[in-house]
């Protein structure tokens, strides 16, 4: 296996890892960069950190999520290594990488259930380390490995989490989400007896209860049939664009990622190796599909490291 930099995967010249907080890049927003397809403006190692996004009206919008120099080590083992990125409102960022790359560790740190060894997380302008409660009121998540308690009914679970997240008009909100996720028939069914696909829909309904500014989705469609998965993807896209929501999405389904994500980060061995538009990134690295690029990153990450 050839592990020389640039030998196995050809790609555009890289700008090298940045220090974490960089000024706005030429006054361009991430979406502008994506439209230009200007791969040379992408950062490797530190992704689009602290861009001041500029929308079409020219109004500067602060990112909803800013992650700066995030690291996590367990003893000698480094699970996440100096990761920095941010996500704008209405942007869906795909966090990709092989098993053990550090995706879930990163998500857990953003959710406040894992203490970083270094670095900072700011959610909607609130530093998670100092204003945890207020920051988490603005976030929510769904993950296949975190189903809602099986010993409560769908309605009871959503009612309890609506109270935890301080949802106003909770009953109406729960009813609306039951309708939206086609869960009305399961209102009084205990979550534990639902199929995995139905449980996923309940988790997604819970994730949208508080109309979060930041939505973290860890393989949200893993157990859904293709038709339902497509429907869910379009709903989340609509929710993100209608409500200026930032979405961090992990998935091993590269077709899904191409369809739904505005931007992707490739994580391997705890580091960000690549960043870009999932539709154009494979070609920039001489690969036919995102899946081919994923396989290359998973097998030979050193070829992409600085």
């Amino acid at each position: 296996m050839n592990l020389q930099p640039g030998a196995a995967i050809s790609g555009p010249p890289r700008s090298g890892a940045t220090t974490g907080f960089e000024p706005a890049v030429d006054g361009l927003g991430a979406s502008a960069l994506r439209q230009e397809g200007d791969a040379g403006k992408r950062n490797m190692g530190t992704a689009s950190t602290n861009f001041h996004l500029t929308d079409q009206a020219g109004v500067s919008a602060a990112p909803v999520l800013t992650v700066t120099g995030l690291s996590k080590h367990y003893g000698e083992s480094l699970a996440v290594d100096d990761v920095s990125f941010d996500i704008a409102g209405h942007e869906i960022l795909g966090l990709l990488g092989p098993n053990g790359a550090g995706k879930t560790t990163t998500l857990n740190m953003i959710l406040g259930v894992l203490e970083p060894s270094a670095g900072g997380i700011v959610i909607d302008g609130l530093n998670l380390a100092f204003r945890r409660r207020r920051a988490l009121e603005r976030a929510n998540f769904a993950a296949a490995y975190a189903p809602l308690p099986g010993n409560l009914t769908v309605w009871q679970n959503l009612r309890v989490f609506a109270m935890l997240y301080g949802v106003s008009n909770a009953v109406e909100r729960v009813e609306a989400l039951l309708r939206e996720f086609d869960l009305l028939a399961f209102r009084h069914t205990k979550c534990g007896v639902l199929s995995s696909g139905e449980q996923t829909r309940v988790s997604l309904a819970k994730a949208l209860l508080n109309r979060p500014r930041l939505l973290l989705l860890d393989e949200p469609t893993a157990s859904l049939d293709p038709a339902t998965a497509r429907e869910i993807r379009s709903r989340i896209r609509r929710f993100a664009s209608d409500n200026e929501v930032a979405v961090l999405w992990t998935s091993h389904n590269m077709v899904e990622v191409s369809e739904v994500c505005d931007r992707v980060l490739f994580l391997a061995r705890g580091k960000i190796l690549l960043e870009g538009d999932p539709k154009t990134l494979p070609a920039e690295y001489g690969k036919a599909t995102l899946e081919d690029l994923f396989v290359a990153v998973a097998r030979e990450p050193l070829t992409l490291e600085d």
Partner: protein
């Protein structure tokens, strides 16, 4: 409703839903304590009939059982509520929400208070109706007795939760026998003087021993044991602080190691 209270209410609501939906949760709330009262009621009646003792076994022995079962119920109130989230693997959902650890435990303690008071009322009702126990014979001292036992039960519950969080769901088997392990030192059924001297010193570190000594003194018509109850109160406060501090330390350890995020029987313990 203020946000903090609403989150505490959410924890309570979840536990209420669980209780309401399952007779398997409701029956044990009352069953074991009721059996205990009936058993010790008959034993007390029998001892009254064969003993020449000048005091009434009903008020000393059966009264002690009611108070001890109240403490056990307070402990179980916290631990069972905590274990519900362990068993349903709910930590990630809970602690990734705005809920703070203090609010979470406030919810568990409120659940313990409400369920323990209901069970206490049942025990007193059965003991009074079936065996003629007069709880009012303890007078106003009943209030500090119950308060100390309640607070010590809560302290044990929080300490138990810390053990389970640190060493995993299997560690629940270390928690359930705690009352049985403590009862000899709490001097529930006999005076402190019945213990060997060295063990008396150990028992003096166990707050409920002051309650049960005091209860026997009051039942025997002696002076109210205010000083010893103050010592018991100080020890109970220390126990509460120690338990709270232990849980906070374990919780921060769990945050550092990622235990909260992947808390299952397979990953811990």
């Amino acid at each position: 409703m203020p946000a903090r209270l609403r989150r505490i209410a959410a924890v309570l609501l979840r536990l209420f839903y669980l209780l309401r939906s399952s007779s398997a949760r409701i029956v044990p709330l009352f069953a074991w304590q009721a059996v205990d009262i009936v058993l010790w009621g008959f034993i007390s009646q029998f001892l009254n009939s064969v003993s020449a003792a000048r005091f009434n076994f009903i008020s000393t022995l059966l009264g002690a059982v009611v108070l001890w079962d109240f403490l056990v119920r307070c402990l179980h109130g916290v631990i069972i509520a905590f274990m519900e989230d362990v068993w349903s693997r709910n930590f990630l959902n809970l602690f990734a929400s705005p809920l703070s650890i203090a609010e979470y435990f406030s919810g568990l303690v409120l659940f313990s208070i409400s369920s323990s008071l209901v069970v206490l009322a049942m025990m007193v009702g059965v003991a009074t109706a079936a065996f003629g126990l007069s709880f009012f014979s303890y007078g106003l001292m009943l209030i500090p007795f119950l308060l100390l036992l309640f607070l010590f039960g809560i302290a044990l519950g929080i300490f138990g939760a810390a053990i389970v969080l640190r060493w995993g769901p299997a560690a629940e088997w270390l928690i359930w026998p705690i009352p049985a392990l403590l009862s000899p030192l709490a001097c529930v059924f006999y005076p402190l003087s019945a213990l060997p001297t060295w063990l008396q010193w150990v028992a003096r570190l166990v707050p409920p021993s002051y309650v049960f000594e005091g209860m026997r003194q009051v039942a025997a018509g002696h002076r109210e044991p205010l000083m010893s109850l103050l010592v018991g109160a100080a020890l109970t406060t220390l126990a509460l602080l120690a338990a709270g501090s232990a849980f906070v330390r374990v919780y921060h350890h769990a945050l550092r190691t990622g235990l909260i995020a992947r808390y299952t029987a397979e990953s811990v313990g």
